[in-house]
Symmetry: C2
C-alpha cells in the first residue's frame, strides 16, 4: 500500500439534483459541480495573473477600448465574467458613466479591492453571481467580455454573453463584446449588428509531441517486460498474462486515449512554430456576433480542404486555433480596427496556444497532396463546457493516388 | 479565459448520504466518495506494479512466507486487500489449503487472471467487495495483509484488518497479518497473540526541500512585482493592492499551507539520506498487534526526546517513518524473524519513503542540543483516511539556554 488518493483524476460526470448549468447541448451539469469544476479555477489570482500577463490578449482589449473611446464615453457597460475587473476598469477609465462587472467566483472580492485602489468605486459596481441569475438595475449600452476558451468555444462561456445580450442590452444599445471577435452596435431588436466575427481555424501540422508520447509509452512497456521477467525469476510468479491490460492502461495514459476501446484521444495544448503548419489553413467556423445564438454554436460541421505546402513531411495531425476582430459595425465602424489572433506565431504567442489533434502513426505526405477532411464538433455528453471532435477524411496525392482514409475522434477537455 | 477546470485539486470533503466508510475517528466519508478517492487508485496496474517493484517490501513478505511455511501448510488463509493477488498466490505456493483473497476494486479481474495463469485457481478464491461487507464460507487460520500507508497509519486500512481478525479468524487460528508488523498466532479469544510489533519513528532532519520551496515562492513573488509594475506602466492599472492575497495564495501553493490562516502545512514524501537525520530517532507509537483495536490507533500522543548529533546544522523539521516485524509468537516463533523498515537508507529505500514535516524558517542547532517535542496525531476531520499532526516543543541548547518554543501543524494527505 502507500499510494495517494489524490493521484486520481477528477471526474467530470457527476450530476445530481437541483440547478443545472448550461443552456443547451452536451450534458448539463449540476450547478454545484459546475462551480467546483469550472468557475473554481478562476478564483485563483495565479490564473488571473496568467491571463493578465498575456500581452497579445491585453493589447487587443486595451487598444479596442482606448482607440474606440466613443463607444464607452458616457455609456453604461456590462462586463460578463469580469475576473479581476480589468475590462471594467478600462471601460471606466475610457469614460463609461457606469460599469456593471459580473463575476461568479469569489474573485469579486479582489475585483472590488482593485476597483477601489484605482479610485473607480463610483463608476464600477462589482456583482457576484452567475450572468444567468443576476439582476441589473438598468439595461446597458455596451457589453464587454473576454469569453474565449481553448479553440474558441471550450468552456461554452459565449452562452452567457448571448444571455446577457438578450436580457440586458438596450434594444438600441451599442454592444462591444470584446473578446476575440465581439464588438458591435445594436440599433434595434431586429437589427442587432455585431460588426466583428470570430473564426475557428484548422491546419495540418507536424509535431514531435506524438513521438515523445509514443517513446514514453514504449519506455513504460520496456520497463514492464523487465518487471515481468524479474517477478518470475526472483519471486516465482508469472505476470505476463497482465501485459495486455497494462499496455491498454498505459496507452490511455500516454497517448491520451480517453476511451481505449473507441480510442478517443484528448487534444493537447501546444505553442506551435509557424513552420510546423505544413499545409493551408481552413476556417471551420465563422461566428457572426450580431446574429448568432446558442443553437448556432452547439454543433459545428465543416469540410477542411487543405494542400500540403511543406515538401516531403509527416502529417502528424491538425492544429486548431481562432481569431476575433473588433471592427465595429457598418454604421458605426471602429475608429481603429483590432484583431486578436491565436495562430501559431514566433513572437506573439498567447496563453490559449493551439489545440493539437494527433494521429498515430503519422502519415507521410508531400507538397501538393490534397486533404479533404470532414470536421465535426459537438459539446461533450459528459460536460457541456467540453467538446467532442471528429476528423475523418482522405488524402489525394499529387500523383492522383489516394492514401487510406482516416477517422479520428478527440476530446477537448 | 482559457484555463482548464481540471487544474483544480480534488477536494476531500464531500460527504452525503447512505453508506459510510471507516470505523471511527476523523470524518466518516460517504462510501461512494471513499471509493472514488481512495480505492480507485488501487484499480490501476501501474500502481500495483509500483508496489510489486518495491524490493524491500517484496523481499520481506516473500521471506516471511517462505521461510515460515509451517504457518501456511494445509491452512486456510485470508488476504485483506489482495490487489494483484501476490500475497494470496505466495500463500498458496507455500502450501495453503485454501486462500480467500478479498479486494474492493476491479483489480479482482486481474487478480483472477493472474491466479489462473499461475495454476492456483483451485486454491485461491478472489472475492470482490470491502472487507467489512464480504461473507466468507468459513473462518480462517491465517490472516495476511499489506495494509501500511505512508507513515504507517495513513489510509486507515489497519481498521479493515482488525475487522477481518475479529470476524473471520478462528479463535484458535494463526494470524500472520503480514505488513509492517503483523504476524501471529491466536490461541483463544482472550489470548490473541500478535507477536510482532509496528513502530512509528520521528527524528529531527535537515532538508533542502524547504529551501527549494521558499525559493520557488520568492521567485513567484518576484514575478508578481514585475507584473504589477508592467500593468501600471503599460496598461494604467494599479495591481499592487492584490500583493497580499497573491502572496497568501502562493504560500498555500508552494509552502503546502493547507490553511493560510492557521498555517497548517501538508507533509511531503521524501527519500531521505541517512545523513539528513541530525539527531536521535524516537519511537512515537508501538502497535501490539495481538491486542490493539481501532481505539488504540485513533489518536497517538507521544513525547519526542532527541539529541542533535550532527554538529552545527539547521533543524529543518522532522522525518517520520515506520518499521514492522514478523516475529511469530512466544509459543510459535517464526523460524526466521523478518523485519521491514522504511527508515532512511541509501540502498534499501521503499516506495513509502519518509514523510517530512518542515519548519519555516529552519532553526540553527548544534551537537548536544536537546529537543523535547510533544507529538499528537489524529485522524483528519475532513477524511478519516488522512491525518492531522501537531508538533510543539522546545530546544534546550547544550549551554543550558532555551531557544524559542515552536508549534507546527501538519496535514498528512
Amino acid at each position: 500500500m502507500g499510494d495517494k488518493p489524490n493521484d486520481v483524476e477528477p471526474e467530470n460526470n457527476a450530476a445530481t439534483s437541483n440547478g443545472e448549468a448550461g443552456v443547451g447541448g452536451g450534458a448539463t451539469v449540476d450547478k454545484g459541480v459546475d462551480f467546483a469544476q469550472y468557475f473554481c479555477t478562476y478564483a485563483f489570482l495565479y490564473h488571473q495573473k496568467e491571463m493578465l500577463s498575456d500581452r497579445v490578449r491585453m493589447d487587443a482589449y486595451y487598444n479596442a477600448i482606448f482607440q474606440n473611446k466613443h463607444h464607452f464615453q458616457g455609456k453604461t457597460v456590462l462586463d460578463v465574467g469580469t475576473g479581476s475587473g480589468i475590462l471594467a476598469i478600462w471601460s471606466a477609465q475610457a469614460g463609461a458613466r457606469k460599469v456593471y462587472a459580473v463575476e461568479a467566483t469569489k474573485m469579486t472580492e479582489h475585483a472590488r479591492t482593485l476597483v477601489a485602489a484605482n479610485n473607480l468605486q463610483d463608476v464600477v459596481e462589482v456583482i457576484e453571481g452567475s450572468m444567468e441569475e443576476v439582476t441589473l438595475p438598468e439595461k446597458v449600452d455596451v457589453i464587454i467580455s473576454e469569453w474565449m476558451g481553448y479553440f474558441l468555444l471550450r468552456e461554452s462561456m459565449f452562452d452567457s454573453v448571448i444571455c446577457a445580450r438578450d436580457r440586458w442590452l438596450k434594444p438600441t444599445g451599442v454592444i462591444s463584446s470584446l473578446a476575440r471577435v465581439i464588438y458591435g452596435l445594436i440599433s434595434g431588436d431586429d437589427d442587432i449588428r455585431y460588426p466583428s466575427h470570430a473564426r475557428m481555424w484548422m491546419a495540418p501540422i507536424r509535431s514531435g509531441l506524438g513521438d515523445k508520447k509514443i517513446n514514453d509509452y514504449e519506455g513504460a512497456m520496456d520497463d514492464w517486460y523487465s518487471f515481468v521477467k524479474e517477478t518470475k525469476t526472483v519471486y516465482g510468479v508469472d505476470m505476463s498474462v497482465l501485459t495486455k491490460p497494462f499496455s491498454e492502461e498505459q496507452k490511455k495514459y500516454y497517448l491520451q486515449a480517453k476511451n481505449a476501446i473507441k480510442f478517443m484521444q484528448t487534444s493537447m495544448w501546444s505553442n506551435l512554430h509557424p513552420q510546423q503548419v505544413i499545409g493551408t489553413a481552413a476556417a471551420v467556423k465563422e461566428i457572426d456576433c450580431s446574429t448568432d445564438t446558442v443553437d448556432d454554436i452547439l454543433k459545428v460541421r465543416s469540410t477542411i480542404l487543405s494542400s500540403i505546402t511543406g515538401g516531403c513531411t509527416r502529417l502528424c495531425g491538425f492544429g486548431g486555433w481562432f481569431d476575433v476582430h473588433f471592427r465595429g459595425s457598418k454604421e458605426d465602424p471602429a475608429q481603429k480596427e483590432i484583431e486578436l489572433t491565436t495562430a501559431p506565431s514566433i513572437d506573439n504567442g498567447t496563453h490559449w496556444g493551439q489545440q493539437v489533434f494527433l494521429f498515430y502513426p503519422p502519415i507521410s505526405v508531400s507538397e501538393g497532396d490534397n486533404l479533404n477532411v470532414s470536421f465535426s464538433m459537438n459539446r461533450s455528453k459528459e460536460n457541456h463546457r467540453l467538446m467532442d471532435i471528429e476528423l475523418s477524411g482522405e488524402i489525394k496525392q499529387s500523383s492522383g493516388e489516394a492514401l487510406p482514409s482516416f477517422r479520428n475522434r478527440f476530446y477537448v477537455e
